[in-house]
Amino acid sequence: MEMLLEVAARWLHFLAALVWVGHNYATAVTRSRYVPLTAADLSDPDSPRQRALMQREHGTFRYASLLVLGSGLLILWERGWLAEALSLQGSLAPLGVGIWLAVIMVCNLWFVLWPHQKRVLGFVRAPLDERLRCSRVTFLSARVNTMLSIPVLFFMGVGAHGVGLFS
């Protein structure tokens, strides 16, 4: 039963990570250069960019981030490794570095990106120039997460399969 729980949690961990980080990578490929929003994009709810923004905001990737973190912590807790990994002890230190970077990513997503995105999309009322400023913040916040995902994936892989690199 414990084995089944761990396998299920690991499966969920991978699937949710692909949804979350895959969203960031897709954006990095489809919008490789920053194209600022304009007042026209935001003032017309039927503008192509406004519609594209609304279609992208469906919450899936935000909730996927919580599943990634939760399932990862569950696996470590089930193995009795959680405290050692979080305190960067012994052979679990590489994994711990990855976890802390992932925690920063989740906080960035929920406490920086999402509050600003709500203004951009008009879920929270704000003047047009404030919405334009917020669109820049959401872009940078997403790019920071894309950047951080690279070491996170490295330390997740190394933590499971390459601890010998560090000893």
């Binding site: 990095a28 920053y34 560090f166």
Partner: protein
Amino acid sequence: MSDLLLRVFDSSVVTVVIGVALTAALALVLRVVM
């Protein structure tokens, strides 16, 4: 100034390069510490 620095993220290629550099730096620190 900070806005100028943040412009490095305008390019996804530079974003990836910074991510790889950060990975190398953290791995190096970890190897030294462990």
